[in-house]
């Protein structure tokens, strides 16, 4: 019952957020700020994680290929497929759920407990539209770009790991990453990243918007937002994979 109530409240909040976004100039200003804070602020961590994860995937692939019947270029092929299909969309989304989700929930939650949201409402501002819509839009714009960047860096992380440690020569790895490339896999991954972007920002905003209490509750809400967003991402990952790949 509580779950249904929460879901209903979440749907109503999203309806309010998309209903009247407020003045264009405010929306533009907020959007640029959110792109900077949610996207540009996450480039560093995503670059580092993608490079290292790509490298680890490639080394693990190389280490597990023992049969001489399996060509070594499979390392590049498998690294590319793992990075594009799963790692860059899902794992990056889970990392962003932690970083961006907690940030959004605590920002909006603090505004709620310090009556800043009430002040917006009293002024006649649609607080949901003013606070939440720019965050969702910014995430929808920037997270697919971050996902593409992560794919690129993950694949090259594998390349550097293989070539620098002597596991594989560069022509063999490149042969693997160019083998049987299906652009649809890229589309599938980008669709997932769009859905995950919406989940991360909307769930965190919802949790922050309805927080009650003080700083302790804001902290707890921030954790709950990350947990809820992560579980939703895993669930939708399964649903989308079933719908889009089979």
């Amino acid at each position: 019952m509580n779950y249904l109530e929460n879901f209903g409240q979440y749907c109503l909040l999203m309806f309010r957020a998309f209903r009247q976004p407020g003045r264009n100039r405010f929306f533009r200003e907020q959007l640029v700020r959110e792109i900077d804070s949610l996207g540009v602020g996450s480039v560093g961590i995503i670059a580092i994680i993608s490079l290292f994860m790509g490298a680890v995937i490639a080394i693990q692939m190389a280490a597990n290929i023992e049969s001489p019947l399996i060509p070594m270029y499979t390392v590049g092929y498998a690294t590319r497929e793992s990075v594009i299909l799963e790692f860059s969309s899902t794992v990056i989304a889970l990392i962003l759920a932690g970083k961006v989700g907690s940030n959004i929930a605590s920002e909006i939650g603090t505004m709620r407990v310090s009556e800043q949201i009430d002040a917006l409402e009293i002024m006649g501002v649609n607080s949901a539209g003013y606070l939440i819509l720019p965050k969702i839009t910014a995430a929808l714009l920037i997270i697919p770009i971050l996902t593409l960047m992560s794919m690129f860096l993950g694949v090259w992380g594998g390349f550097f790991a293989c070539t620098l440690t002597g596991l594989l020569d560069s022509p063999t790895y490149i042969q693997g990453i160019t083998l049987d490339f299906r652009p649809y896999h890229l589309v599938y991954s980008l669709i997932k990243s769009l859905v995950f972007a919406f989940i991360i920002t909307s769930v965190a905003s919802f949790r922050g918007y309805y927080v009650r209490g003080g700083s302790r509750e804001v902290g707890q809400t921030s954790t709950r937002a990350v947990v809820n967003a992560s579980i939703s991402i895993l669930l939708w990952n399964l649903i989308l994979t079933r719908l889009l790949l089979l």
Partner: protein
Amino acid sequence: MIEIKHLSKSFGENQVLHQIDAAFEEGKTNLIIGQSGSGKTVLMKCVVGLFEPTEGDVLYSGRSFTQASFNEKRNIRKEIGMVFQGGALFDSMTVEENVAFPLRMFTKESRSEVMDRADLCLKRVNLPKAHKLFPSEISGGMKKRVAIARAIALNPKYLFFDEPNSGLDPRTSILIDNLIQEITQEYQTVTVINTHDMNSVMEIGDKIFYIHKGHKHWQGDRVGIWESPNKELTDFVFATRLMRDIRSKNFKL
């Protein structure tokens, strides 16, 4: 004028307000007083629309607020200015940006016109040199004044103050009280103040509503308080020895 008609509010089984009737007049400071937990903050939040009343109506110059559509409510809210207990300033904006916010949101004025108006409002509340500071860098009294400047930026018809003197020293409290009274007379606003500060009651209480356990127990002015036979009211107002002494010496306002 703001009229409250038979307003009740319950949270689940707990009824906080019982059939409140009141009328707040223009150009006067209307005070809602009562003990902590008496329901005065809930009453104010029902009047400004932050809580939905369980029963009854609130009329802003004859316009029903509780039955208004989303857009009608939005239009009424543009005529409302409210100063929250903690100020509720936007902490990521400077003082100047806080005051300019409603102007930028609801007017089509140019940036320079908006900033001129914000500057005027800040000067009106005697804060001519705090424009570029953030709320975290100013004192409690200054925060209240910035909140007042933001509340009057759009020339509101209705002004609400929730505990405007809480956390302030007596001298700053008097300055804030005087400022509220001056603004009320200058802009001819319907000013509603939620307080339990007896200095404010005696200084600026043109019209006073005493709320006790969710009921309106008494209504009158600051002169009437001295002569009221209402036991709950006198117990509340003359709770301190100083107030009792003043009263026993038959002090007249």
